[in-house]
């Protein structure tokens, strides 16, 4: 039997990359694959994945459920849940390419759905919350079924292998999006399995992460109070839910969310002006359990754009660049130059300093 997170420890780095066109112009997955492939040696073949935004223009208002099933039995059981809770517009296998390198793939399906009207009304929830709760239920109560992504006009494509192999497997060169993020995994502490590959997603949010979070249990316990179920026992999952809580449920502006997760040191706080000090102090106090400790560089993707962030002690490398409407972030500068030889601007990103890429006309994620 495959050992999952928590049952095995593999001590061991990672690679992340993100490309966005701020005008919303779509481009194929070709460039993001080349970018992440350049950092091949930062991964070890135990996980690779991509998040793509703007890829389903034919179903922009449907939730696109990307699913992994261990077998037909788990698929059929889960589809009963789907039929009870959703109106399924269309469902079927996600097209994949047979490749030599990718083996032991689960059943990979995709459903474009809307919440069932009567169920939604009965629940008294908004559509997003309804969907989020359904995702939590499937991941924790349906053995052998795993939601890879659940947002609108976006999808996560991930698995066990090197990222460039995963990209080829999922035919990402045939999709077009305006924002792509990618991850090459070198598992720290936990095994490589299809559901455990990055990105980790919920609704429109996706996270790719290089690092290790030592505050995982404190973060998890806090998130569980708001109904999140951390069923995958990975630190990255908790970051995804933390952003969902702060940005979607609590409606906080992005800079406040960043302050909560990568809070300034108390020593830095002492030098702020009174108004800022009061604000940062309040955020640190209210959300002290969401402070993320440990080394990390992450890219949070959403339909409106992305934010890339380093831990406040700057324990992981992160480089950003701009060229016209394009904005790039990656673990290494060469991964950007591979797809953009002469950026207008390149810079090393500081600890706790967010790099924000937003679609034109949008001012919040």
């Amino acid at each position: 039997m495959l050992l999952r997170e928590g049952q095995i420890r593999i001590p061991s780095g990672c690679a992340i990359s993100g490309i966005m066109n701020r005008d919303g112009e779509v481009f194929s997955g070709h460039d993001i694959i080349r970018s992440i492939a350049l950092m091949h040696d930062r991964s070890n073949g135990l996980g690779g994945g991509f998040a793509a935004y703007g890829i389903y223009p034919d179903y922009p208002e449907h939730y696109a459920l990307h699913m992994f099933f261990e077998d037909d039995q788990s698929r059929e059981a889960t589809e009963v849940f789907f039929n009870n809770h959703f109106d399924i517009e269309v469902g079927g296998k996600i097209p994949t390419r047979k490749t030599v390198k990718i083996t032991n793939a689960p059943l990979i399906w995709r459903y474009f759905v809307l919440p069932k009207e009567n169920k939604l009304v009965e629940s008294g929830l908004g559509a997003d919350e309804y969907m989020a709760r359904c995702v939590m239920r499937i991941n924790s109560e349906y053995p052998g079924a795993f939601v890879a992504s659940s947002g609108k006009n976006m999808g996560a494509f991930k698995g066990v292998g090197y990222p460039e192999e995963i990209g080829e497997f999922y035919k990402l060169d045939t999709y077009k999006g305006y924002l792509w993020t990618a991850h090459g995994r070198f598992p720290t502490n936990t095994p490589g399995w299809w559901g455990g590959a990055h990105p980790f997603t919920l609704l429109d949010w996706s996270i790719v992460h290089n690092g290790e979070i030592s505050s995982y249990d404190a973060n998890r316990r806090y998130l569980e109070m708001f109904g999140y179920r951390c069923s995958l026992q990975t630190d990255t999952e908790a970051i995804t839910y933390a952003f969902d809580l702060l940005l979607r449920k609590h409606g906080l502006p992005l800079h406040v969310a960043v302050t909560a997760l990568a809070a300034p040191f108390w020593s830095a706080l002492a030098r702020m002006d009174d108004q800022q000090k009061a604000l940062v102090k309040a955020v640190r106090t209210v959300y002290s359990s969401l402070l993320i400790n440990g080394p990390f560089s992450i890219i949070l993707g959403s339909r409106k754009g992305f934010v890339a962030l380093n831990d406040r002690l700057k324990l992981r490398s992160l480089v950003a660049a701009e060229k016209g409407a394009f904005i790039y972030v990656a673990s290494e500068e060469s991964a950007i130059r591979e797809v953009c030889a002469a950026p207008d601007k390149v810079w090393s990103v500081g600890g706790g300093e967010p790099v924000i890429g937003l679609l034109k006309g949008v001012d919040q994620l």
Binding site: K314, S334, A335, R337, E338, S348, G350, G351
Partner: protein, 253 residues
């Protein structure tokens, strides 16, 4: 590999895996090349790592991680930016970068000189060391990120702030945290709160001016500029309070 004359060799690194590239560089040096020029480099790691001798290695493109790590000699000139871990535990030689670099430049460096025209990332010059006549030197034309010279045990760090990200200070926070040896010279001023608890600011004396003059002169030799003008600004000298700041950490008091 094309051999243009007996002692100069050019290598195209386009699409080459780092292992192959470094094998070619080693082969060229073993065959007696005095100059090896590697062009179209993009992210290949370990260029110049562990190499000895007096040859000149020219790198065109974005040099990958650990350029010149454990290097024992050689003059490496990079036309482009460098990434992380350049001059990691370097023993001897010179690295000249016509661009900027990433994090942990000069980590645990033991001797030799590194000149960076632009800015550097985070944790630069950490745990540099020195022994008798072996004194490593890092000269940076732009700005540096946080943890500059953290746990520094020896050597010379010179930070000029001639360029760099607008709106950012010449050096980030936690400068010299845990420093217990060596010296830093920072052009202009450093805010008290940016310094680690283990460093103190002292006035420069004649000997310091001499050291600065020598290395700023070499910086200008590599990248151009007016040494007199650069040296004319005030400098801050940082040294550790104590050679063993943690000597009493686990001792009962």
């Amino acid at each position: 590999m094309t051999i243009s004359n007996a002692s100069a060799v050019a290598i195209n690194a386009q699409g080459l895996y780092y292992k192959e590239l470094n094998e070619k560089i080693r082969a060229a040096l073993a065959a007696g090349a005095a100059t090896v020029r590697v062009h179209s480099v993009n992210g290949q790691r370990y260029i110049g790592t562990g190499l000895s001798g007096n040859a000149s290695l020219i790198v065109e493109g974005t040099a990958g991680n650990d350029l010149g790590a454990y290097m024992n000699g050689l003059t490496v000139t990079v036309y482009g930016n460098g990434q992380d871990g350049i001059a990691n535990t370097m023993n001897a030689g010179t690295i000249v970068i016509h661009g900027s670099t990433g994090d942990t430049l000069g980590y645990a460096m033991r001797d030799g000189e590194v000149y960076v025209e632009g800015s550097v990332g985070f944790r630069v010059g950490i745990h540099m060391k020195e022994y008798q006549e072996k004194v490593p030197v890092l000269v940076i034309g732009g700005k540096a990120g946080s943890f500059f010279g953290e746990y520094m045990a020896g050597g010379i760090l010179i930070l000029l702030g001639l360029s760099g990200r607008e709106g950012h200070p010449i050096v980030g926070d936690f400068c010299g945290t845990g420093m217990h040896g060596g010296v830093m010279y920072i052009r202009g001023n450093v805010e008290e709160h940016q310094l680690g608890k283990e460093v103190k600011v002292v006035e420069l004396d004649e000997q310091d001016r001499e050291v600065l003059g020598k290395y700023v002169g070499r910086y200008v030799g590599h990248f151009g500029g007016d040494a007199g003008e650069i040296l004319d600004a005030p400098f801050v000298k940082l040294i550790p309070f104590n050679k063993r700041p943690y000597g009493n950490l686990y001792v009962g008091v």
